[in-house]
């Protein structure tokens, strides 16, 4: 009964989405605003319907209703309650429903909040967003229905895969989905602006914060996914250039280019066409990424099972792309820039270089991700490119991007002079060169790594100088250092939030170079009391025990003392966990973690028959924590940039109240 109501709510939501699209189109074409308002209400009503559907699916999971195939696949009687909640996105059908929930939330909020602000765009926005909703609700209702019943009722379910029980993996999918669905809103308003012929930067201003928030969630999803891989998968890495990882990275890249490029349109009214292209590209990559993950068309280590939804996704991408291209073409004259670049050494040119570089990286990732399809098309044989190929091709492009990240903020709008730009860069260049010389003296080798460190150090000094210059200017007005610094952040959140984001990326860049170039690993079987040395670390194997854990877990845990230069610095406990009912093991690493490096240990093998010895695999990951630390700064920077301006907000609220009053 509960499942039937859940499915019925899903069906009504699907029909309501169709109604919203038709009513918005009819209302606009006949100039009947009541129909458009009705369409708006319909998109808002979809939200409680999808909430009801999700709530009933979760209720079915909590009640262990294994008559539903989805519940049987992702849950079990023994599973803790919090995991039963997260099982909602633990499989294909549930996660699609969850996707629909997020899309419904974003849609309802956007339609409710922006109604008076962008009334001219709304009929078109309703049509566009309803098309996306029809597609995804249709998939949930007719192709990947989470309420499908089994013929016979099993006594228990599979339970959520143990690998998905890590906190990073519990939060990671919702973050990615929030990012993905979030980008649908700016796309919707962009196409609505095209259809309405209202091509000023109104749609950009309306969706600026949406874009930033979507980008924030996508970034969080990527970072958490990396952390999960590092903590759970036990290969000492965090990013493997797998097609599914790339599927999230590509829209992030396009969104990054868009976030930079819209600033030129706001300041200089240039690149309208380019911005349209970028947001359409971002949206297309969001849908394409979902297609890669869910269709199983490209072999990946962590895609969903091969599914029938592939061709449907493909058709939807094609329809939306053709639809978007049609409107861009129809408005191409109005999209032509009224201004043009006056100098190749200017802020707008720097943004453009940034865009070129990001799109170049995107093009390479896209080509390599799709290489199996491309190569089969041209040679008849499926090829594959692994991480070393990505790294070799992309390292120079990332290096240039890092350099540009430091230099671009020095440039001015319209024009900058080479001489003065050179003067501003002189000391940072000298300081970073000295840093690299010191690294060389400290026996850091490898020209690629040294060049990378130089670029990252140079950009870091330049960015820090920007903070210092701004703070100093305020201090000259009599403010204390802290007041000057915090006021600087508060008064120009977007700009300085952006610089914090740059700092986060640069710190991550140091981490990536450190771990990619200087990672060491070894594997050794140790007798109790035996030791292993890697770098400046020595590890002594003290003991190993097997004991039962919660639920059906059997835990085998080794105790290791870690010494640096003969001094005991830590005791770590790498272990394996065995879910006895399903026979699924989990290898849980442990690490001596410092800002300089992680001494990361895995318990590879231990047999109770030879209880005095065990095999360990050990990684020394230099600067790995800079990746996570940089990630935190990156997220904080995005929050600073996206934080609403209290003054502007109250003005907007006041004007909204006035508008409502006038309408009454």
């Amino acid at each position: 009964m509960i499942a039937d109501i859940g499915y019925f709510a899903l069906l009504i939501a699907f029909v309501t989405a169709i109604y919203a699209a038709v009513a918005a189109w009819y209302g606009k074409s006949k100039d009947k605003m009541r129909w458009v308002e009705s369409a708006r209400n319909a998109t808002i009503i979809i939200l409680p319907l999808v909430v009801l559907s999700c709530a009933l699916l979760v209720t079915s999971i909590l009640r262990n209703d294994f008559s539903l195939e989805y519940v049987w696949r992702v849950s079990s009687i023994e599973m803790p309650t919090y995991l039963k909640f997260t099982s909602l996105w633990g499989g294909q059908a549930g996660s699609l429903l969850f996707w629909n929930l997020l899309l419904a939330i974003f849609t309802a909020v956007a339609m409710a909040r922006k109604w008076h602000e962008q009334k001219e765009l709304m009929p078109y926005a309703l049509i566009v967003i309803s098309m996306t909703q029809i597609f995804f609700l249709g998939l949930s209702a007719f192709v990947e229905n989470p309420f499908t019943r089994l013929d016979v009722i099993p006594p228990n379910g599979n339970g959520l895969n143990p690998l998905l029980r890590h906190p990073g993996m519990i939060i990671h999918p919702p973050m990615l989905y929030l990012g993905f669905t979030g980008f649908i809103i700016p796309y919707t308003f962009a196409i609505a602006a095209l259809m309405a012929g209202k091509l000023d930067d109104g749609w950009i201003r309306t969706t600026r914060r949406w874009t930033l928030v979507a980008w924030l969630f996508l970034s969080l999803g990527l970072i958490l996914g990396g952390r999960w891989a590092y903590d759970v998968l036990g290969w000492g890495g965090y990013w493997g250039w797998d097609p599914v990882e790339n599927a999230s990275f590509m829209p992030w890249l396009a969104g990054t280019a868009f976030l930079h490029s819209v600033m030129i349109q706001e300041k200089r009214h240039m690149f309208k066409m380019w911005n349209m292209f970028l947001i359409i590209l971002t949206y297309s990559l969001v849908i394409y990424g979902t297609f890669i993950v869910r269709s199983g068309v490209i072999s990946s280590v962590h895609s969903f099972a091969r599914s029938a939804i592939g061709p449907l996704f493909f058709a939807f991408i094609a329809i939306m792309f053709i639809f978007s291209a049609y409107w861009v073409n129809r408005r191409r004259d109005e999209l032509a820039s009224t201004n043009s670049l006056q100098s190749l050494l200017s802020r707008e040119a720097a943004f453009l270089y940034n865009n070129f570089l990001i799109l170049a990286i995107l093009a390479v990732v896209f080509l390599f991700t799709n290489y199996p399809i491309v190569s089969e098309l041209f040679t008849g044989e499926k090829g594959f490119v692994g991480p070393p190929v990505y790294e070799k091709a992309l390292a120079p492009l990332f290096g240039l991007l890092v350099l540009l990240m430091g230099v671009a903020p020095l440039t001015m709008w319209y024009r900058s002079s080479v001489k003065r730009l050179g003067r501003a860069m002189r000391w940072p260049a000298i300081a970073s060169t000295i840093t690299v010389i010191v690294l060389f003296i400290l026996n850091i080798r490898g020209w690629g790594a040294l060049v990378g460190f130089w670029a990252a150090t140079f950009a870091t000094f330049l960015t820090l100088l920007e903070f210092w210059k701004g703070t100093r200017a305020r201090m000259k007005r009599g403010e204390s250092v802290w007041a000057a610094f915090s006021n600087l952040m508060a008064r120009n959140r977007r700009r300085y939030g952006g610089y914090w984001i740059h700092m986060g990326v640069l710190i991550m860049a140091f981490g990536v170079i450190g771990v990619e170039v200087f990672q060491q690993e070894t594997q050794l079987r140790l007798e109790k009391g035996g030791s292993l040395t890697l770098g400046r670390y020595e590890m002594v194997f003290n003991d190993i025990n097997r004991f039962p854990g919660p639920d059906d877990l059997m835990i085998t845990e080794a105790t290791m003392d870690v010494y640096v230069d003969g001094r005991l610095v830590d005791t770590i406990t790498p272990r394996t966990e065995l879910y006895t009912r399903t026979g699924q093991p989990m290898t849980i690493p442990d690490a001596r973690s410092t800002i300089a490096e992680d001494f990361y240990v895995l318990l590879v093998n231990w047999e109770p028959t030879s209880a005095n010895s065990a095999t360990f695999r050990v990684f020394l990951n230099p600067l790995i924590n800079w990746v996570w630390g940089g990630g935190i700064i990156f997220v904080l920077g995005t929050l600073i940039a996206a934080w609403p301006d209290r003054k502007k907000q109250s003005v907007a609220a006041r004007s909204r109240r006035v508008a409502i009053g006038a309408a009454d």
């Binding site: 006594p155 199996p372 091709a393 319209y414």
Partner: protein
């Protein structure tokens, strides 16, 4: 903020715009050429052929000693993790295309690779490495990938430990 000049006198803007456009076109062409070079340079000799087990055996002669990415299903009974000596472990197992029709089998050998948690009967494996003349497939370092975490989606109800009782 950088010390920069603001020049917006307008007299040469038209010609400058044209020359900028030309510079951008030249720059764009150079960028595309540079990217093409980076891609070709990175790929040359480093791409793998993607094959199933049956596809591999169909062209075994040609594919011997070539860098391959093999997709197959793990035969649970064949998994062996051997500690050769203190420094060396040897992980061996067979993969097939279809467990119901388990021939031919490709024998996989991974030296000093930890046994992945997901290496179990019926697991879908993606294995990077090379096959020698004897048909033994040696895994590249880090080249043993098990498909997951949503692998359970592919389970058949009857395969689960608890099964589905017949009514």
């Amino acid at each position: 903020m950088a010390d920069t000049t603001w020049t917006n006198d307008g007299k040469d803007i038209l010609t400058e715009t044209k020359s900028n456009r030309l510079k951008f076109i030249i720059g764009g062409v150079l960028l595309v050429a540079a990217i093409a070079y980076l891609v070709v340079n990175a790929m040359s000799g480093n791409t793998q052929l993607y094959k199933t087990v049956n596809e591999y055996y169909a062209e075994q002669g040609r594919l011997t000693d070539r860098d391959l990415r093999i997709a197959g299903v793990v035969v649970g009974d064949s998994i062996q993790f051997i500690e050769v000596d203190a420094q060396t472990t040897r992980l061996e197992f067979d993969v097939v295309d279809d467990l119901d029709n388990p021939e031919p089998k490709l024998h996989i050998v991974a030296i000093n690779e930890p046994k992945p948690d997901l290496l179990q009967h019926k697991a879908q494996a993606l294995i990077e490495g090379r096959a020698d003349e004897n048909g033994v497939f040696m895994v590249n370092p880090g080249g043993l990938l098990l498909k997951c975490p949503t692998r359970y989606e592919e389970l058949d109800p009857a395969d689960h430990p608890d099964g589905i009782p017949q009514q």
